[in-house]
Amino acid sequence: MKTIWYYLLILCCIGTISSCEKDDICVEGNTPLLIVRFYDETDTTQTKAVSNLTIQGVGNELLFPVASADSIAIPLKTLENSTAFTLTLNGASTDTTVVKNPDTVTFTYTVKEVFISRACGYIANFTNINASVTSDSDNWIKQIIIQQQNVENETSAHIKIYH
């Protein structure tokens, strides 16, 4: 009879060990957003806020929320190799006398899939990123500089925009 309890104990230990796994919620990783910082074109070391900025993805009806006036984090498309955003100076202004100035910025990149865990599956990293501004009659964006070619995390700015 003693051996039965011995085997039951072994069974319980095995059951406990086998069920040990992290919760099935993805906490180990995330697809990074593109970090863009706005700088003064005349004094290139100073950040410069964009007044009443609005962000809209080209092809998307919804506006994307602005994180702060001089630094934004925007999502890139994972199923295509380019994403375009319309950044509008004074877009959120309620003053009817102020002219809203939209500029379209297009980012092109290569999507790289990274497997994180069973709960997360794959996240996307964006490599070899390029940025260009569509020329129009009045560009408020004067220059775009690629600060980091690969978007793998959100620790520092990837793109610098001078205006």
Partner: protein, 240 residues
């Protein structure tokens, strides 16, 4: 004189023949019990049953053991499995075959005439398999551009990753009981410890045939089987 010599000869013969009388006395009249040794071959019935009910699984396992001493059995299992797993954000199919070999130790003291066993054992196991990623979608907590779960489309990823293999050790606890003449029913539970595995660069090994689900944070796994085996007797040996 001649008669005397003959008499001496006859007496000597009788005296020397005396010890021979002893032999006749010690004839064996005790019955010696002999245990049967042989080969047991069977299949794991839980796998075909599971395959019948689960569309995403097929599997077959052949089990066998040979008794090599009073309490030790040389045992092995050979099987093949295929399983499709749907995770939160991706779906994959794992298929392949495995081989396990090891020793079982019978801890049960059988009464005369019985041949049951409650055993513990060890196995060393290996599997070769492939995994195919059927679908995946990116995880992001900013779903601005696409609906969550919109499927990825990279053909380098949505393919079969071949020539994967794994090696692991198992501790086995089980029992086998003779239910009918030479027919044994058995059940066992196993604790696995993954020693090594060769995975593809893009997709890790998440389900290995014979090992079952691989947890990425530790190297342990569990499996069980329910077997029906037939005993083929080969020779008999004294139960000592």
């Amino acid at each position: 004189m001649k008669h005397q010599r003959i008499l001496k000869y006859i007496i000597n013969l009788l005296v020397f023949a005396l010890p021979l009388l002893n032999v006749a006395q010690t004839s064996q009249d005790t019955l010696v019990y002999k245990e049967r040794y042989g080969l047991r071959i069977g299949i794991d019935v839980s796998k075909p049953v599971r395959a019948f009910f689960d569309d995403d699984y097929t599997g077959l396992e052949v089990v066998g053991d040979i008794r090599i001493s009073k309490r030790f059995y040389l045992a092995g299992e050979l099987g093949t499995e295929q399983k499709t797993t749907q995770e939160d954000l991706f779906n994959f199919t794992s298929k392949g075959s495995y081989f396990k070999v090891g020793l079982d130790y019978n801890t049960y003291e059988n009464w005369y005439g019985m041949e049951n066993s409650i055993y513990t054992g060890l196995r060393i196991s290996a599997s070769t398999f492939s995994q195919e990623l059927n679908s995946y979608s990116f995880f992001t907590d900013t779903p601005y551009w696409q609906e969550p779960q919109e499927a990825g489309n990279n053909p380098d990823l949505l393919r079969e990753f071949k020539n994967l293999n794994a090696l692991w050790a198992e501790a086995v606890f089980g029992l086998k009981a003779e239910m009918f003449n030479n027919l044994y029913f058995g059940a066992s539970i196993r604790l696995h410890y993954l020693i090594s595995d060769k995975a593809s660069d893009e997709f890790p090994n998440l389900w290995i045939p014979g090992f079952n689900k691989v947890t990425l944070s530790n190297n342990f796994g569990v499996s069980f089987n329910y077997t029906v085996s037939y005993f083929i007797p080969l020779y008999k040996k004294e139960k000592n």
